[in-house]
């Protein structure tokens, strides 16, 4: 007889399962955390290497000469920007046309659901200016994009200046096989989103824009510049994009190869690589870099302009110039040469970047961990949920001889099962829907009655609905049939555990960091909660492990890792702004973190909260 169909053997296995359940769960949890932290340890990581043949074996001498002229252009740009009080569209168009590019503009406008703290108005209007450098001998089938944002005030002038300098230099070369688009966009990410939507003829986010007059073919790769000063000490690479999507690792390898060739310091997450991996400080440094990447990826927001390109399968990265207190400074000519080299190598591409990894974590710029190595950490956490579910299934299958009331005994397991489970599930999800829709919808009413701004109204409404959900079990007890039965809460917990496992699994496949962070806090809560644990203590523990508090911890951790620690009050304000930014990102760019948390994760957590207050 088979292992599972032999009743004796099955009983032996199930008894083993129920006996050893808790120890195995604890071991799995600790192993999962340890595995994750061990990923930053250098011997467990791989060295990065260039996978694409077309980019690896070609080496070019960079000859960009005019860094100083680029800086002069930047000063001119700054002057015109101040004169116009926004984006100097006419000056940009005139300059690009003088360089021989085909220049076009695009105007866009967007109604924000509520005014952002930085924008403080409901409607954002702007213009994008882009010039196309046509490849002299190639057909117009492929393109590369170089973009620099036009930011208000005094920031990013040098980026636009360098962009224009590069455009002039590139115009006089004959070896371009792809068209190059030089994009200067207004209002940062909103401008980029409008341009991309116009370029690809889509309308995902409800943006209003004029159609693009000039087009260059399918975009193979994009680079975004952010430069604030004339000289930089290091260049920072930003990879995390919308919804935690990452560009192909070859782009990071390309950046690193050129930094090494030109002798420029390059960093990732703002941290330089250390060579002492076997010391505690070295390990902590790598772990900090990796945790920063995990937190940034989990937030689901695009951390640079490149983040919005990734949705269209365009490999993109942002390069940020950092001017810190170091002796060795790099001038604009070297940065220009770096970009020249990178664009020239991207020019040699024959297909889109696809040879290297798309899912990875980087403890430093030269070391990476691929999905095959980091997924087991998450798998170990999910195993806990499955073990608990199995345990419950076994218990449900064999009715216990002693019950507190005689109602549950003798009944088949499924009859109080599904129907009674349906009610808490529906109620929790309705709360989730309320959490998703009400904050934005009711901001007007809130502003009427309370002395708060719209942003604060939205955020505070969200928090209010979140805490109101905590009171649900008291109010909905009457509606739940099979109330107070042992079977009832077991079935509910079984359903909730499986639901959570599927949810976290799907999230981790798309955005590993988000799935892992949610798993770290939700899995212990889900595994341990029963109606029999002491109520007050476990209620506090459940609240502390809820998704909202997870976001709070992440905010504090992020600040800590950035070496800008904040006090409790500042942290709270940051937390509120993170929530508002999340809602805004969802409305503007289609980020999925806020709907995921509100519509799926929060109701799941509410189910466990219901189980806690089952009696």
């Amino acid at each position: 007889m088979g292992l599972l169909s032999d009743p004796n053997r099955r009983k032996a296995i199930t008894s083993l399962l129920t006996r050893l359940n808790t120890p195995i769960c604890v071991v799995c949890y600790l192993a999962g955390i340890a595995w994750f932290m061990g990923l930053a340890f250098e011997p467990f990581t791989l060295r990065t290497y260039m996978s694409e043949n077309a980019m690896g074996s070609t080496m070019v001498e960079e000859r960009f000469p005019s860094g100083e002229r680029a800086l002069a252009t930047a000063r001119e740009f700054a002057a015109h920007k101040k004169k116009v009080g926004g984006m100097p569209v006419d000056w940009l168009v005139k300059t690009m046309r003088a360089q021989g590019l085909e220049v076009f503009t695009q105007s866009f406008s967007r109604n924000l659901p509520f005014p952002d703290e930085s924008k403080e108005r409901f409607v954002v209007r702007g213009t994008n200016v882009y010039g196309i450098l046509r490849a002299p001998r190639a057909p117009r089938t492929e393109a590369l994009v170089l973009s620099a944002p036009c930011s208000p005030g005094n920031s990013n002038n040098q980026a636009v200046g360098l962009l224009l300098g590069l455009a002039q230099y590139f115009r006089s070369q004959i070896y371009w096989a792809k068209d190059i688009i030089f994009l200067v966009n207004e209002h940062d990410l909103i401008g980029v989103q409008a341009w991309l939507e116009g370029y690809h003829h889509t309308n995902i986010t409800g943006m209003g824009y004029t159609p693009l007059q000039g087009r260059a073919g399918s975009i193979q790769a994009a680079l975004s510049l952010e430069l604030n000063s004339d000289v930089v000490t290091s260049l920072d690479l930003v990879l995390e994009g919308l919804n935690g999507q990452l560009p192909n690792l070859d782009l990071a390898n390309l950046f690193h190869a050129f930094c090494q060739k030109l002798g420029i310091l390059c960093t990732i997450q703002g941290k330089l690589q250390r060579s002492d991996w076997d010391t505690v400080e070295g390990y902590t440094h790598s772990a900090q870099t990796m945790l920063l990447m995990v937190l940034k990826q989990a937030s689901g927001r695009p951390w640079g302009e490149h983040g919005l390109f990734l949705r269209y399968h365009i490999e993109a990265a942002s390069i940020r110039g950092v001017n810190s207190f170091r002796q060795y400074k790099t001038d604009a000519t070297s940065i220009g040469r770096l970009f020249e080299g990178m664009v020239r190598k991207l020019n040699n591409l024959l297909e889109r970047l696809h040879q290297s990894y798309f899912f990875y974590l980087m403890p430093s710029l030269t070391r990476f961990v691929s999905i095959g190595y980091y997924m087991p950490a998450f798998g170990l956490l999910t195993t806990i949920l499955l073990l608990r579910a199995l345990d419950l299934w076994v218990h449900l299958g064999t009715p216990t001889p002693v019950t507190e009331d005689g109602v549950g005994e003798g009944e088949s397991p499924s009859s109080p099962g599904l129907l009674s489970v349906l009610t808490p599930v529906v109620i929790s999800h309705l709360t989730g829907v309320a959490l998703y829709t009400l904050p934005v919808l009711s901001q007007e009413m809130a502003v009427e009655h309370f002395p708060v701004s719209e942003t604060e109204a939205v955020v505070l409404t969200a928090i209010a609905i979140y805490t109101a959900g905590l009171a649900l079990p008291h109010n909905t007890h009457r509606l739940i049939s099979g109330e107070g039965t042992e079977q009832g809460w077991r079935v509910l917990k079984l359903v909730a555990l499986l639901y959570l496992a599927v949810l976290l699994g799907c999230t981790a496949l798309i955005n590993f960091s988000l799935g892992f962070i949610l798993a770290v806090t939700l899995v212990p809560a889900a595994a341990c909660v029963t109606p029999h644990v002491p109520k007050a203590l476990s209620a506090v523990a459940m609240v502390l492990l809820s998704p909202g508090c997870t976001i709070l911890y992440c905010v504090f951790l992020f600040q800590e890792l950035q070496e800008v620690p904040v006090s409790l009050a500042e942290g709270w304000m940051l937390f509120l702004s993170v929530i508002s930014q999340g809602i805004l990102d969802h409305a503007l760019y289609g980020s999925l973190v806020y709907p995921l948390l509100a519509l799926l994760v929060y109701p799941c957590w509410l189910l466990f909260w219901n189980i806690l207050f089952w009696k």
Binding site: N53, T58, V60, R137, A138, Y175
Partner: protein
């Protein structure tokens, strides 16, 4: 006494003269035998570059440098089949359009302005290559795409690209194996399409490609042994690619010193690019070749040397009628072997041969049948039949 002495001197002088003349004649004879020893009357070259894409610039430069040497040494374009899998000179990424350089700092442009490419781009496939070698081309193929060699042709075949143990990659999508190549050469031998063949290959693990040859009169050279990679020579930082492979680079340097009258032989060619320069170990194979490699001139394969003998004495031409009589007598002795034994293939009705009595097997078979027949039906029944 004096008479004797004079006779003796005369005798010595006479013998010396005779010896001198004999040695002269011997020298002339060896020179003459050497002169006519190679046995070929025309030269062909098949030069193939099998890889495409911009970063494989060096393979095209390899083939073009061999093309340049071969053309310089006298083989005309009509006798060269040049197959290039991609166009590097007019590639969009080439900062120096219409040129293909073999030395950095752009010393030598091997593309020139009189290149004739016979198979270009996607026409360079395994099938086309094998058809060129075996001559099985559709009737519409132009002459420039055919290898019109005969049994007195010396053919140089040069292949370069990406290869592995036992195969050569064509166009990033298909491969030719060493077995196929050996069979193609055997087909060429059976169809009398070459007199002698020199096969040079510059790929990784190139020696594996000549391991399987089994036809006579083939000499093979490769740039690396099995398990070794052939390395590229030098990158040019203005163009941004590696310009040549090491083996062909030093081969080109060697060939630049060869002129049509040069007496360099194959042993010098085997010494091209030792391990110190090439990093890989070049190999060669001469066991199938009938002549001694030391007596084979480089120009036997790389050049197209017309053999001219200047004679200062009058030659007596015999009467043409006498000549024809003599030829008739000899005409029966020479004939071509049946190149396509149709009778074997189609199983035609055999011609009327003399009757032979049935041999043992047929006899035994029939006796067995008869025995069985009689056993079954019994002898006694025979009386009723007969």
């Amino acid at each position: 006494m004096v008479l004797l002495f004079v006779c003796f001197c005369l005798f010595v002088c006479f013998s010396l003269l005779v010896l001198l003349e004999l040695s002269l004649m011997l020298a002339l004879l060896t020179k003459a035998t050497q002169f006519f020893s190679s046995g070929h009357t025309n030269n062909w070259a098949v030069l193939v570059c099998t890889s495409r894409f911009w970063f494989n610039y060096r393979h095209v430069a390899n083939v073009l440098s061999v093309y340049r040497s071969v053309k310089r040494l006298g083989i005309p374009d009509s006798h060269i089949v040049l197959m290039l899998a991609d166009d590097m000179a007019c590639n969009h990424r080439n900062p120096k359009p219409a040129t293909v350089f073999s030395h950095k700092n752009m010393e030598l442009n091997v593309y020139g302005d009189d290149v004739e490419v016979d198979y270009r781009g996607y026409e360079v496939t395994v099938e086309n290559f094998l058809r060129v070698l075996t001559g099985r081309l559709p009737p519409s193929t132009p002459r420039s795409k055919r290898l019109l060699s005969d049994d007195r042709s010396n053919i140089l075949i040069y292949l370069t690209g990406h290869g592995g143990n036992g195969f050569l990659k064509f166009q990033d999508s298909e491969e030719i194996s060493n077995v196929e190549l050996a069979d193609a050469f055997e087909q060429m031998w059976q169809k009398r399409r070459y007199n002698e063949l020199l096969f040079i290959i510059d790929t990784c693990q190139g020696a594996s490609m000549y391991e399987r040859f089994y036809s006579p009169n083939i000499m093979a050279l490769a740039s690396s042994q099995v398990g070794e990679d052939s390395l590229s020579h030098q990158p040019d930082l203005a163009i941004g690619v590696h310009l040549m492979d090491r083996y062909t680079f030093y081969l080109l340097e060697f060939l630049e010193d060869i002129h049509p009258a040069s007496q360099a032989n194959m042993n010098d060619l085997f010494k091209v690019c030792p391990k110190s320069q090439c990093v890989s170990t070049p190999g060669h194979r001469t066991d199938l070749f009938l002549r001694d490699p030391g007596s084979v001139l480089i120009t036997d394969f790389f050049g197209s040397v017309r053999k001219v003998e200047i004679t200062r004495e009058a030659i007596n031409l015999t009467n043409p009628t006498e000549l024809s009589l003599r030829n008739e007598l000899k005409s029966e002795a020479l004939f071509y072997v049946d190149q396509l034994p149709v009778a074997d293939i189609i199983h035609q009705k055999p011609k009327q041969k003399d009757w032979h009595p049935p041999d043992g097997f047929i006899l035994g078979l029939w006796s067995l049948i008869l025995l069985v027949f009689f056993k079954t039906y019994g002898i006694k029944h025979l009386k009723h039949i007969f």
